[in-house]
Symmetry: C5
Subunit: 305 residues, 5 copies
């Protein structure tokens, strides 16, 4: 996987972008994104309740995992980073620039998740805080009546990230009353193409499924349609680690995805197990580990590094 140096990275930021990209993807061109933006997106549903360890209710749990596990980036909101950043300055961060709650059902009103802060705010913050920020992220909902506002914000964010030598990750989900099946391969391929047209380095997308099973051929339509934009497969609900890692391996090595964005399947575990799960995911995503090797890491039989 050759890295694409976007043409809107200016000459004086080329070196920074390349180093940033190589470090973040471990030289593999693939990204293991630890998703920690659900405190707004899902309120407290992902962090407290049956089957979730109590420690997950404390936001610091996310930072503890992110600081000790192998990850590409830890993606979360600016505010959360400001509250823990001084104690967790070793984490590679990706600042998620927008978020919405789940209180209004998609069928009731079309979603609009507006940008909270400007890229230049984050750039200035990076300089003043010295934190290890690698890029920015943004979610857009195609098919919403507010699609136009999110397309504009996304296009600007990607371009501004590149101008600063940062990577840009877009979460692209078709939503709203005119979207029938969000796991349809053709629809997801369309979302992939939108990510390419917006110039994203990575696009986090829904995964194509047929009868609940990964549609590997469909994923190839998706990853091809994305062109030079890397496709990150959504981690989704918590499942068994084995099933998760097997599908992940299949996504990457047969579906040609270029990474994954995983939250619940990591943080809804006790700290030690969460770290090992992240390490296993990282090994498959970035280090070409087999499922077997990854399961060894998960079991704690192998150190990930």
């Amino acid at each position: 996987m050759k890295m694409t140096l976007p043409a809107d990275v200016p000459a004086d930021k080329e070196k920074a972008f390349i180093e940033n990209f190589e470090k973040t993807t471990g030289g593999s061109g693939r990204l293991m994104l630890f998703a920690g933006d659900q405190k707004v997106e899902h309120l407290n549903n992902d962090f407290y309740g049956e089957g979730i360890p109590l420690e997950d209710n404390d936001p610091e749990h996310l930072f503890k995992i992110a600081s000790k596990a192998d990850i590409g980036v830890f993606a979360t909101q600016f505010g959360l980073i400001t509250r823990y950043g001084r104690d967790y300055s070793d984490i590679p961060y990706l600042v998620k620039l927008n978020a919405k709650t789940n209180l209004i059902p998609y069928e009731a009103k079309d979603p609009y998740s507006q940008q909270w802060l400007e890229v230049e705010d984050v750039v200035r913050f990076q300089k003043s805080s010295g934190l290890d920020i690698r890029g920015v992220g943004y979610t857009l909902y195609l098919g919403s009546e507010h699609e136009h506002a999110m397309l504009r914000e996304a296009a600007r964010i990607v371009h501004e990230a590149h101008r600063n030598g940062w990577i840009a990750v877009l979460w692209i989900y078709p939503k709203g009353n005119f979207v029938k099946d969000q796991h349809d391969r053709h629809l997801i391929s369309g979302a992939a193409g939108v990510g390419a047209a917006l110039g994203a380095d990575f696009a986090k997308l829904k995964v194509p499924y047929i009868d609940g099973k990964l549609d590997t051929e469909g994923l190839k339509e998706v990853t091809t349609a994305a062109g030079r934009t890397g496709v990150l497969c959504e981690g989704g609900d918590k499942t068994s680690p084995e099933a998760f890692l097997m599908e992940l391996h299949e996504q990457i090595h047969h579906g040609e995805s270029r990474g994954n964005g995983t939250g619940r399947n990591i943080h809804q575990r006790p700290l030690d197990e969460a770290i090992r799960m992240a390490d296993a995911i990282y090994a498959v995503t970035v280090k070409n580990a087999s499922v077997e090797e990854a399961l060894q890491i998960l079991e704690g039989n192998t150190k990930s590094n």
Copy 2:
């Protein structure tokens, strides 16, 4: 309770922020917020009518209380501060940056409470007036169709406050047709997490109740979900002082709340009683007073300082 120095407080404002925070919380990390923003939020309902002393109808009543009682901050609108500030320059102020009236029911139209002035306006005002302004506040309504606009304004306000060495307090209330029970602990925990994701120093939240009684376990879910953002419990309707102080004590010492925002339970009393009530609340909140000690202050048997 260790103070969190937010990572977006720049180096040249660190000292100011720390002094500001320590002074405002009396070194306890807990905030007694005297809420005086209801002249817009509730129009004249809280200030005139049965069971309310006549003097409460004059806005100066709030300033008299705030200048003589022990409080953390007096939170009210900019305009009111401008009209009384020269005569009450000793009050520690928190400028509430938005407000709406209660004329439109929440069921009829989703609320939008827009920011009135920029943080930089208040900063400039602080410098020109010399008033003792400690920070800014903002209310956001999750679940409103205008949620996106308020999330953006809130995120920017918190960040700008920190850049100036000020504290930021968010009032976060889920509202609208999709919110069933605003005293549900899990929903309030979600609001707490949003406050954390926005980087607030304190979040003023609804209190979880079961059958009208404080749900202390629920409050712990809330205060844990808030992470390093301190939870302020809403004071609510006027109740008996004893019941109020007992619940307050329970909130802090068993629910791990980090303060309270109280208006009506203070100002709907004659000046002298109002001052003693504020002093009692402050004693419990900041000085680790027992309910007994607080009641002594309320009775006037003990000086609060």
Copy 3:
């Protein structure tokens, strides 16, 4: 009535504000506002038709009255001032910064009256034209779904006026489908409190009536709730001069209003009579004249100055 020097008047504008306020209120702290903004608000209804002298149809009628009568300020739109200002440079002006027509009924659509020009535009205009501009005015409709936009514009206008040493007058009217009785004292008291929270020097409000008669006690609730913001009573439809002046006297001396905003009761008369009516109103409002004395002025038996 002590003048309040708002805390957001900067040091280098304090003298200007005080002189401006004293001159405009004739040292009484009370304002006689000659309202001439109805050409937009009511289209031509107030200026042409049965019982209205023909000369009132020409906008210059307003300027002739304003230049010859005793008034505090003549409140009208910027554009009208630009068309007559060079010939009427002696009038004390208050620039009304927004206006809407009456074509859409309040029941059909919630009103939004947007700001036309910025305060800084008017400040620059004052400097270049040399006209005697004393301040700015703005109308806001509480209870409209656009309330948030008007609250924001109002808050900014008041602050910017003060920063320039000018006075700010807000017209505050609850409107829309959720407002039952706009002459309810408690509702008007709420509007008064909003005026205070916005920092207005004066708030022009509806007058509380019971069965069509002035509710003096109710007006005291209103004027107390307004705090240091002076309450201007709306002039309303044209009535008999005697009834008008008697009520005005009662409003001021028993209701503790601090002035009035009168349009139709002045300009819907031939020039000479209109001037005497304005003089009579001014005498009651500013000079503590009795109703008897005011009626003498109206009759032309006494010179007002």
Copy 4:
């Protein structure tokens, strides 16, 4: 008719404004506005079809007429001026700053015609191109739910035009579901007053008709209500030249209108006839020609100059 020098024309632009106004009105204070903005407003309806000469379909037809006929200004969109301006640099232009199509019926949705370019864009363009631009124009629809946005844009445009020494013309039409009869004199008088309150030099208005015949008395109500803002009567659908010129004469000499805005009655003719029609209209409007004299010009028996 004395020219009004608006008070917001700054000292260094007074001479420019006066020369501009005098030249544009031929010293008469009256404006013959050749309206060429219908390519957006009416799409191709006015330019192609039964009874319209084929040459009218080419936009250059408008420029040919404007460059050869006697006119005050040719009012059209910026873009059209840019495409023909280098070949028609002798035309006095008025840049119409907004326009909308007629695809959505007024009964279906309230109209909003947004400003396309800023006055400063046009000022810079005038300087760089050297074209003979005399001012700017803008249409506003009173009674639309978007009225507030158009009132604001109009107020700003008039003021910015004056600051540059230019004249400002407003097209003011009450529209929407609450407007019963747009030819009602009282309603049009209201629109005239709005034009005055916005500070326009000229307001192009509907003409009051009773049973399809000019209501001269009504027009006097209108022109009086407009004060120092000159009323331009809308030219309307194509009619017989005689009827048109007779009504025009009546409008000016008995209704006290100060000009007209005519499009279709000019351009829906072959070039030569169109020029003569424009000359005839100009003669009546600016040169006090009688209807007889104007008809002679139209017939080609008299040269207009």
Copy 5:
């Protein structure tokens, strides 16, 4: 066909504009626009499925064609250009500044396709990347309730392009519930006139059809109404090459169109065939080739250059 030098091209950009225009139109004044913006507009529908070669699913297919075929410009989104631009620096680009998906049917909600980036962003990008960018494009939907926003954006984009010496192409499509037949010649003529009023160099329009056959007379109404704005005929669905080239020839030589915008009829072919198809279209459009000659190019019997 004489080139029009728009009057808003400033003196120091005249030479650049002329060279740009001449090079882009091959001296013919006619534009062959290779449309590659459908990855957003049609999601993946145009790129994957029955009858489409697999290679079309990869966005690079578009760049391969554009770099090897004769084209005027390759029109696509900024982001896509940034991802391939460093490897395809020889392509003449036109940056399409807005786009929307097809998820919401036009009957369900009126379309709004908002501008993503400013012209100045693209200008800065052109300078920093050195890519061969010739101009910008924008789509507007007349008859949408958001028409006003798109008219404003379009007007500004055209003007800013000219100020930079670039050409501006507008895609103008009447859409929404009030548009009956989008292939109606009179309606398309109206859209052409709007393009002229906006100052566009070229307007890409629907083609007038009667019973599915080109309405050549109708097209002449359209191209005349467009004035000096060149009309580009929409390429539309994929048809037989012979039919396509014959209609193209007819459009240009009898309908007086000034080019075409073709996407699917080119890229939905294997690379080699796609290049020859583009070459054939270019030959007809720019080089006055006959249909016979164009078919020879398509067959590969004649080299296009």
